[in-house]
Assembly symmetry: C2
Homo-oligomer: 196 residues x 2
DNA sequence: GGAGGAAACGGACACTGTGCCCGATTGGTG
DNA sequence: CACCAATCGGGCACAGTGTCCGTTTCCTCC
């Protein structure tokens, strides 16, 4: 895993000592493992133990759980941003939005219970999650605005609200997949009243 | 506040001593106050302190936070059950479902953050919340089935899934109201593909 | 109306998770 | 290689949870 480059997490200011970078990457990997296995509410200490470092090290690199979340999802967020830019070229504006949201939903279920917390963080500016997601949000806003402009999406909802809503959809407790019809209902409901 | 009669919470087995009943009702009232003010994640102790009783008393009456939730929402749930039965007589099956869900959504926002926890408990059988909501769920299932039978609601979703979904909708952090378009999107998305 | 027993009370205790702090250690530099 | 700053990581204080048990209160029966 590559430590933050252009990201908003911590770097770009100073080169970081080699042991610090090693621990940073180890904590990131440990976070993925622990949260994937025990859910987003797993004891924060477990991450430090899994990484084989002390509590102090963990808290220095990631002051809060949300900071670690933000770092963990960074690569997925980058991916989603790229995809949103690509889909701006797609012929059907509505299908582009729908396809992107399906991808977003699939990715959001990677870590149990995390998508709900991320969805919450998306809204409140100032949160590390919101900072990490800003480029993605901007890219999706363009995609969404295009569909709205063409009248393919209802006009009384903002792109951020859609992200929050989809991120908050209930998930299967164990599989982690969104229960089938939930996303379909939202997608169908996003279409303007005129369209079926 | 009337202590549980036909409810599933604790009673109907033994008459409860007068001091026990007094404390039960005091804890219920305290729970409403504390959760309304500080949200559903407020320290459980605060409920005991607000009620002027010890921790032991609180935990004896309500072994878990969810047990207290179930008791607190009992009267709202009863109300919703009654309304669902009434709406079975309504001429328009779809409008009946929509109206009931709007009521459900409005009620679900009474205590900050509680609706999400209740929505989670709704799904997992065995939880006190699920037990308290069973009559309501049954009544809504009939209402929902009627609309589905008439082809006014998409057929690939169950009534329980709808309840879980609406209960999980993001809420305004402060006001507690569902952000406007969320419920509209779900309602619109529940209609079958043929209808606009 | 008072004595005995069961039920209920409520504070103390042990435990877990969190977040911070500071002495010890390690790495980079002249 | 020696020094200084950056980093490490264990220890500490604190808050929330849930349980246990000695004490108190209520109900019943005489």
């Amino acid at each position: 895993m590559v430590p933050p480059k252009t990201s908003t997490t911590a770097a770009a200011t100073k080169p970081l000592r080699v042991d610090a970078r090693r621990n940073y990457e180890g904590l990131l990997a440990a976070g993925r493992i622990v949260f994937a296995q025990a859910g987003a509410d797993a004891p924060f200490d477990d991450v430090a133990r899994e990484a084989g470092v002390g509590r102090g090290t963990l808290y220095r690199h990631f002051p809060t759980r949300e900071h670690l979340f933000a770092a963990i999802i960074q690569d997925r967020v980058d991916l989603l941003e790229i995809r949103a830019r690509e889909l701006l070229q797609a012929p059907d504006a509505w299908e582009a939005v729908a396809e992107w949201l399906r991808l977003f939903d699939r990715i959001a279920t990677a870590y149990g219970g995390m998508s709900a917390r991320v969805a919450r963080g998306l809204a409140e500016s100032g949160s590390p999650v919101a900072a990490a997601c800003t480029p993605m949000k901007t890219a999706f806003r363009r995609l969404f605005a295009r569909a709205q402009k063409e009248g393919r999406v209802r006009s009384d909802v903002t792109s951020t609200q859609v992200l929050t809503m989809v991120g908050s959809l209930p998930k299967h407790p164990h599989s982690g997949d969104t229960i089938r019809p939930y996303l379909d209902i939202v997608l169908s409901g996003l279409k303007p009243p005129s369209e079926g």
